[in-house]
């Protein structure tokens, strides 16, 4: 039963226009990169220089994918359940003998699989195609680490988007997700700067707002930046002792909250 619903989710999300648009955009970027590198190779650079430029260009490509994969997670997350609610199909689906939380979970996991699939294909198939066409050797090490680091944050991003889409229209939910992502990043970097202990002891309005966003929302941008740092081998401040348990707990809390709210929802 859950497998059938999961396949249904994958079929539904794979038809998403956002996915198609980003897929086409990826191909365009790859084509531009290939053309630039080929032109440089034919006219100016020797093979050694070409490898450096090719590696750098590919790094930027991985970085761009790493950045907008979160955007895709928000876009698909906002439609995962909202589209069923809008069409009225949801009342048909929840009248099957499954608990509502399972329906929610399957929809979230389905979107997660699609987002990860897109991420994987964009990174690795794109990189492989680039390498074959240009002859430039591509290093996938950083991209693989970034992919692994982003696994759970993407689930958290989808969960947040699903939650917001239960209350507001899809486009506004998407905008709010992006806005929240920035707010959380600002709060987190502010708290990191002054230290959590000081933030908690010297309590004022701004700090309490900062702490609210810091503790109750997933730090998707923080994780994304950390993942990006592996692509170019740069330094990024990342408190794994706090971020890992926070992400796990907050993702579970948000999924639990959505399930609770959806259980009470009149359909």
């Amino acid at each position: 039963m859950l497998k059938t619903l999961l396949i249904n989710t994958l079929l539904k999300e794979a038809r998403s226009r956002s996915l198609l648009f980003l897929g086409i955009f990826n191909i365009i970027i790859l084509l531009v990169m290939v053309t630039v590198v080929k032109l440089l190779g034919e006219n100016t650079l020797a093979q050694e220089g070409l490898s450096v430029v090719g590696g750098g260009v590919m790094g930027i490509y991985f970085l761009v994918i790493n950045w907008w994969i979160t955007i895709l997670a928000y876009l698909l997350g906002t439609s995962a359940i909202a589209s069923d609610l809008r069409s009225g199909i949801v009342s048909q689906l929840v009248s099957f003998p499954i608990p509502r939380w399972q329906y929610i979970l399957v929809r979230i996991v389905g979107v997660w699989i699609i987002v990860l699939g897109f991420y994987f294909v964009s990174n690795f198939l794109g990189g492989f195609a680039f390498s074959v066409i240009t002859g430039v050797e591509v290093s996938f090490g950083g991209a693989i680490v970034a992919f692994l680091i982003n696994l759970l944050p993407l689930l958290a991003a989808i969960t947040l988007a699903v939650f917001l889409s239960l209350y507001i229209q899809r486009i506004f939910a998407f905008v709010l997700c992006s806005f929240l992502s920035v707010i959380v990043q600002i709060s987190t970097s502010g708290i990191t700067k002054i230290g959590l202990e000081r933030a908690l002891s010297e309590f004022d309005l701004y700090k309490s707002i900062g702490l609210f966003f810091h503790f109750l929302f997933p730090h998707v941008s923080v994780w994304s930046n950390y993942a990006s740092s592996f692509i170019f081998g740069s330094e990024a401040s990342f408190n794994s002792m706090f971020e890992v348990p926070h992400l796990v707990v907050i993702t579970m809390v948000w999924i639990g909250l959505i399930s609770f709210i959806f259980k009470k929802k009149e359909l």
Binding site: M1, T4, L5, N8, L11, K12, R15, S87, G88, I89, S91, Q92, V94, S95, F96, P97, I98, P99, R100, K264, E266, L267
Partner: protein
Amino acid sequence: MDAILEVKDVSKFYGSFQALKSVNLSLKPNSIMALVGPNGAGKTSLLKSILGLVSFSSGEILINQIDCHDYNSRKSLAYLPEKFIFYDYYTVKGTISFFGQMYGLSGSELSEKIDAISSELGIKDLLNKKLSTCSKGQLQRTGIASVLISDSDTIFLDEPFSGLDPVAIKELKDTLIKYKNKGKTIFINSHILGEIEKFCDEYAIMNHGEIIEVGEFSKFQDGTFEDYFYNKVKANA
């Protein structure tokens, strides 16, 4: 024999508006009951309460002795909403198959049942047609096939004749009688009194959120229920 469905003193409010007023109803196994009433009588609210789609303020609903809020209560029932909507990129066969799989069917059993039900409802030629290209009547018949494939003991149909032509209405009535003879219990929410009178066993008249009468169709001669219903509702206005 225990009732398949027991609605006990169920009340429901939408804000200050009371949609259901201490509704009591029970459904005997192996029978066809029609819930009838004018628009806004509370029929859909009652059906949605039974299916656990909406919460109610007080009372209790048991399906096969299981509380309707427990998802296990839905193991023995299938539901067709008033307007059957499904993802339009699915084919008719894919849709019926999805519903079958959601009720645990698979492999050759699923294929055989799709074959049998599509023949019964006259949609065999439509199996490979996408829902986006189906007419309203074809969609409705796909919905009915999707519900009947579940092999559930109790079938809830909300306005099942809506959008069907006279031939399809006749075929659906025959199919429902056949399913009743197979031991199924059917609960129909319908406006079309002339049709339900001919094949349903029991009726429940609903008005202003209350069940004002429950009875058997056998006491009416052909065509007289419509007048009876009209007078009852007018008297209760």
